[in-house]
């Protein structure tokens, strides 16, 4: 499902280069739930961004769902991301003036789907994450856990085969965090959706089938 082949990523910082990933190769099978761990600056988020097509590697290839997305044009990778990848962020990244149902339906709207289709799909997902009673509320009126569930609902609106989560519990208390992890796990199992989750939290990582550790931009094979 996901394959990274000798992926390097270097950022320019002033006159010097900062190496975020230094030749990472890995494979994640379809339906697998993988947690990516590592200290700050180890390249976890960079890896996630490359898999989601938010960024491009400096060298190497990223293959997702049978396609080399690192070689795609921007529009191609955007459309691919829209349909095949769902994102859940630590800071939720919802649009503050759209209510729950509008936020969920937004990717479908961007895809030009009809209002009725987008709403029906969004309502179904909100029901699934337990937010149907809050569907007309703005994000500011929701609790932290509800907001993250809303973000998950939005991520799933296209039934993507891949769900990428960047510290999904990082901004939540432990109880709420556990509930969110349970939701992700449930989706992984029921939808056979491949999940890649970046986390600092060992307990969160324990939910996953496999843990990949990164250190200084390299896979920490010794502990993997």
């Amino acid at each position: 499902m996901i394959r990274l082949i000798d992926v390097h990523k270097t950022f320019k910082q002033g006159a010097s280069d900062v190496v975020a990933l230094d030749g990472v190769s890995l494979h994640i099978a379809a339906g697998e739930f993988v947690a990516v761990m590592g200290p700050s600056g180890s390249g976890k988020s960079t890896l996630l961004h490359l898999v989601g097509g938010l960024d491009r590697p400096s060298r190497g290839d990223v293959m997702v769902d049978g396609k080399i997305i690192s070689q795609m044009e921007d529009d191609q990778v955007t459309l691919f991301r829209r349909a095949r990848v769902g994102f859940v962020f630590q800071f939720f990244n919802l649009l503050p003036t759209l209510n729950a149902i509008e936020n969920t339906a937004l990717p479908l709207m961007l895809d030009g789907r009809s209002e009725s289709e987008a709403r029906a799909r969004a309502e179904g997902l909100l029901e699934r994450v337990g937010l149907s009673a809050r569907k007309n509320h703005l994000p500011e009126a929701l609790s932290g856990g509800e907001i993250q569930r809303l973000a998950i609902a939005r991520a799933l609106v296209f039934k993507p085969p891949i769900l990428l989560a960047d510290e999904p519990t990082g901004n939540l208390d432990s109880k709420t965090g556990a509930a969110i992890l349970a939701t992700i796990r449930e989706i992984n199992r029921s939808e056979h959706c491949t999940v890649v989750m970046v986390t600092h939290d060992r307990e969160a990582a324990a939910t996953a089938d496999r843990v990949i550790r990164l250190k200084d931009g390299l896979l920490d094979e010794g502990r993997g």
Partner: protein, 862 residues
């Protein structure tokens, strides 16, 4: 603090060079307009006075009687009045040079022997001794030119020049050259001295004088002498100090000058919005920086101070440059103003005027004051930024909630504006009421500005809902348009100011266009009813006024003999005074032309009015006269004529757009008797049915064109000329419109850039969840389009209200003229479309920028 200012502000300016430069240019432009208009206004105020002062020499009193002059036989009465030491009679007027296009001379005809006591004429080549003077006087073709004029035309002593006099072209010999001293300095040296009788003949003022300059015996009281001389004249002429005379004539231009001031107010208003907008954007852009400063212990008031000082730095630099630019601009503006004044009011010399300390202060105070005022609100917003802003990641920004304090302020201002517009304090004159009207309109616009966020909120919400119901059509960016609406609705204050700026620009365009359209249509209707002649013949200029040369009646009889001419009438227009204020006296012969002419009557019907006029039952007065002096049908007015005071019963009110000073229309024969003036400014010719006007024009031009410098206009040409003159006087307004549009477009770019910067994270999220670059571009462009549409619609609405008030009420307050209101539909539609298109174009760069934002940094670190 100042170190902080230098460190942060200077770096910010350098980093955003283009925006800094544009804001700087905005201030420069505003200040330049203010300074230039102040200089022009001062030049206009002093223009006529300077000429009078230079020509008046040592005179402490002047006897004169408007343009009609007075009988020469009054001179001994004046001269022999007790207390008068010296009395120098003179006639004056402009004459064009025959065969030299565009050149004319200000002819000053004096008694050379008596004049030396009042004016010192300095001649080239030593003193102009008695023998020289006698030789000059003895030959009636003598003329003295200034050195400058002679040099310009390659003339020297002994050369001959031909002048188009009231009796046709005549040759004169240059018998002396004048140094440009005293009177010879006027009109850039286009000054000529002639002996009095020769000048009287050339100007068609035989047996008449325009002015007698007086000095008094030592110790004589000027006012007592003035009263004494006036008493002896019995109303046949007026006695004034030279300064009062200039002021009276210059009051003719009041509305023109107030109009110019109005234009500089618009420039200032537009400048305010530009600065406000730029500093607001700067605050948005630097929120994190401000948050960090606050984290580091910078106090709120220090942040406030920082932003105010930033505005001050730009304002000082912009104002100083603006003053310099204003001086240059004034040179160009003076040319324009000079042309307008010369065509419409009187001949003036407006060249070579520099700024005074007062104008420099006006520029500095205007630029700095407006900049600081504009900076206060954004600076206050900056001071409210919390230290959290530096690390802000996911704090919700509330959706706008509709009615706010700003909206209530807006409503109050909107409510106050009509009260002020129609408030009429007992002592208020036309200019005061006009000023109140202008202030009311400013309040109205300001009210709309305060209300604009609420209007944006409602409007965007309305479209958001409407677009939701629309089916998805391929190629139609429905969702982008919806998201754009959402962005507008979310932070209506951000786009509100831009929409307000656009609204003001469009309102200004519509107001000027409606005013021009209304004046044009009203003028054309007026010309149709006022001038019914098939052909109108003038000398020296295409219209009757300060530029044309009055001719003798006998010339008209020659025109009457041209085949096809059926009716001939004589029109005369002179400046006079009523109750110490300048007015115009118009005359034509209703007896000759009543059967072929009509009159644009405001009260009464034209045939009856013409009949009564012909019977010398009374005079007609213009609408402006009625408004200015409160005299109406049935009242009696007393005018000073060269034959003494004469009373006229008002027999009707007519419309006269040729002067807002107020006009009195009198039967020509009556006028001739009272004023002793049989000169003619325009010959009105009606042709027989079927006669060829072009053939008549050819005939007149071929036979008499050169001798009299004739301009023969058909009715249509005259109308075109009236419109051209009118448009010429509006050219400054057009320039301000262009500035307003440029500022508005710049505001749109600025606002959208601010919007993109402000929504960096949101844009990142949209990209992350699948929005393509094209969609993002579409969204930002759609936002620009909405701004253009809303700003445009509001501008057209506000413009309709403002222009109606300006045309129907304000103009009447200022000029006494009523115009029919015409809404410029074509201009309105074009402006609206242009507003949307220009905004879309303005949105392109911010849209491109939005699309190029890296997703990762946008969503991760804002």
């Amino acid at each position: 603090m100042l170190r902080l200012l230098r460190l942060l502000t200077w770096r910010h300016f350098l980093r955003h060079r283009l925006r800094t430069l544009l804001t700087f240019l905005g201030i420069v432009l505003g200040v330049a307009a203010i300074v230039a208009i102040a200089i022009v206004n001062r030049a206009l105020v002093g223009a006529f006075q300077n000429t009078i002062d230079l020509v008046a020499g040592k005179a402490v009193l002047q006897v004169e009687n408007g343009e009609s002059g007075f009988k020469e036989s009054l001179f001994p009465i004046v001269r022999d009045t007790a207390g008068v030491r010296d009395a120098a009679p003179a006639v004056q007027g402009f004459l064009p040079l025959a065969g030299v296009k565009g050149e004319k001379l200000y002819i000053y005809g004096v008694d050379l022997l008596a004049d030396a006591s009042i004016r010192e004429h300095e001649f080239v080549g030593g003193a102009f001794d008695l023998d020289g003077a006698l030789d000059f006087i003895a030959r009636p073709d003598s003329i003295a030119l200034t050195e400058t004029f002679a040099r310009r035309l390659g003339l020297r002593a002994g050369s001959t020049i031909r002048l188009a006099t009231s009796r046709g072209a005549r040759a004169y010999t240059v018998r002396a050259l004048l140094r440009e001293q005293g009177a010879a300095k006027v009109f850039g040296g286009s000054f000529a001295l002639m002996d009095l009788p020769a000048a009287q003949i050339a100007l068609g003022k035989d047996g008449k004088l325009d002015v007698v300059d007086l000095t008094l015996d030592d110790g004589e009281n000027i006012d007592a002498s003035r009263r004494r001389i006036a008493g002896r004249l019995g109303g046949a002429a007026e006695v004034e100090r030279p300064r009062n005379r200039g002021e009276q004539v210059e009051s003719l231009m009041t509305s023109f000058r107030v109009g110019l001031f109005f234009v500089s107010l618009i420039a200032l208003f537009v400048g305010f919005f530009l600065i406000f907008n730029t500093i607001s954007v700067s605050v948005v852009q630097r929120k994190r920086e401000i948050g960090t400063l606050r984290c580091l212990g910078v106090l709120r008031r220090q942040v406030l101070f920082l932003f105010i000082m930033e505005a001050l730095a730009l304002a000082v630099a912009g104002s100083v440059t603006g003053i310099l630019a204003g001086v240059f601009l004034a040179k160009g503006a003076l040319l324009f103003a000079g042309r307008t004044v010369n065509s419409l009011f009187f001949q003036v010399d407006l060249a070579g005027i520099g700024p005074t300390a007062r104008e420099i202060w006006i520029g500095l105070a205007g630029g700095i004051g407006v900049s600081i005022l504009a900076a206060v609100y954004p600076a206050w917003q900056a001071a409210r930024v919390t230290p959290l802003e530096s690390s802000r990641q996911a704090v919700w920004r509330s959706r706008a909630r509709g009615v706010s304090r700003a909206s209530i302020t807006g409503l109050i201002l909107l409510g106050a504006s009509p009260l002020l517009a129609f408030w009429s304090p007992a002592a208020a004159g036309g200019v005061e009421r006009f000023t109140l009207g202008v202030v009311a309109m400013m309040l109205f616009l300001l009210g709309l500005c305060f209300l604009s966020p609420l209007l944006v909120f409602w409007w965007a919400g309305l479209f958001w809902r409407a677009l939701s119901r629309l089916p998805s059509i391929p190629g139609f960016l429905r969702n982008e348009a919806r998201l754009a609406c959402d962005s507008l609705r979310r932070v209506p204050g951000r786009s509100g100011m831009t929409i307000a700026t656009l609204m003001i620009s469009l309102a200004a365009i519509v107001t000027v266009a409606a005013f021009v359209a209304s004046v044009r249509e009203s003028l054309l209707l007026w010309v149709d009813r006022m001038i019914t002649a098939d052909l109108v013949v003038h000398s020296g200029a295409r219209t009757a006024g300060p530029l044309n040369v009055p001719l003798q009646e006998e010339v008209g009889e020659k025109f009457a003999a041209v085949p096809g001419v059926e009716v001939l009438d004589f029109y005369r227009l002179i400046r006079s005074n009523y109750e110490g204020k300048p007015i115009m006296i118009e005359s034509f012969s209703a007896r000759r032309s009543a059967r072929v002419r009509t009159l644009p009557m405001l009260v009464g019907d034209a045939p009856a009015a013409l009949r009564r006029m012909a019977a010398e039952e009374g005079a007609l007065v213009s609408e402006s006269f009625r408004e200015k002096f409160g005299k109406t049908t049935g009242d009696t007015i007393r005018l000073a004529t060269p034959s003494g005071f004469a009373s006229f019963k008002i027999i009707g009110i007519y419309v006269d757009y040729s002067s807002d000073a107020g006009s009195v229309l009198i039967e020509r024969e009556w006028y001739k008797r009272l004023w002793g003036d049989d000169l003619v400014d325009a010959f009105d010719l009606w042709l027989a049915r079927g006669a060829d006007p072009q053939a008549a024009i050819r005939e007149i031009n071929e036979r008499y064109g050169d001798d009299y410098q004739l301009f023969v206009s058909t009715h249509r040409e005259l109308k075109e000329n009236v419109v051209r003159l009118m448009e010429q006087s509006f050219s400054v307004n057009y320039a301000v419109e262009i500035v307003a549009v440029v500022v508005a477009i710049f505001s749109v770019v600025n606002t959208l850039l601010a919007s993109v910067l402000d929504r960096r994270r949101e844009i990142g999220v949209l990209r992350a969840i699948g929005a393509t670059k094209k969609q993002l571009r579409g969204m930002i462009m759609a936002e620009a389009g909405w701004i253009g549409l809303l700003g445009g619609v509001l501008g057209l609405g506000a413009g309709a209200i403002m222009s109606y008030h300006h045309v129907v009420y304000n103009t009447k307050f200022l000029t006494g003229w009523s115009f029919s209101y015409f809404y410029p539909v074509e201009v309105a539609v074009i402006s609206l479309v242009a507003s949307v298109i220009l905004c879309l174009l303005a949105g392109y760069f911010p849209a491109k920028r939005a699309a190029s934002i890296p997703i990762v940094s946008a969503i991760g670190y804002e």
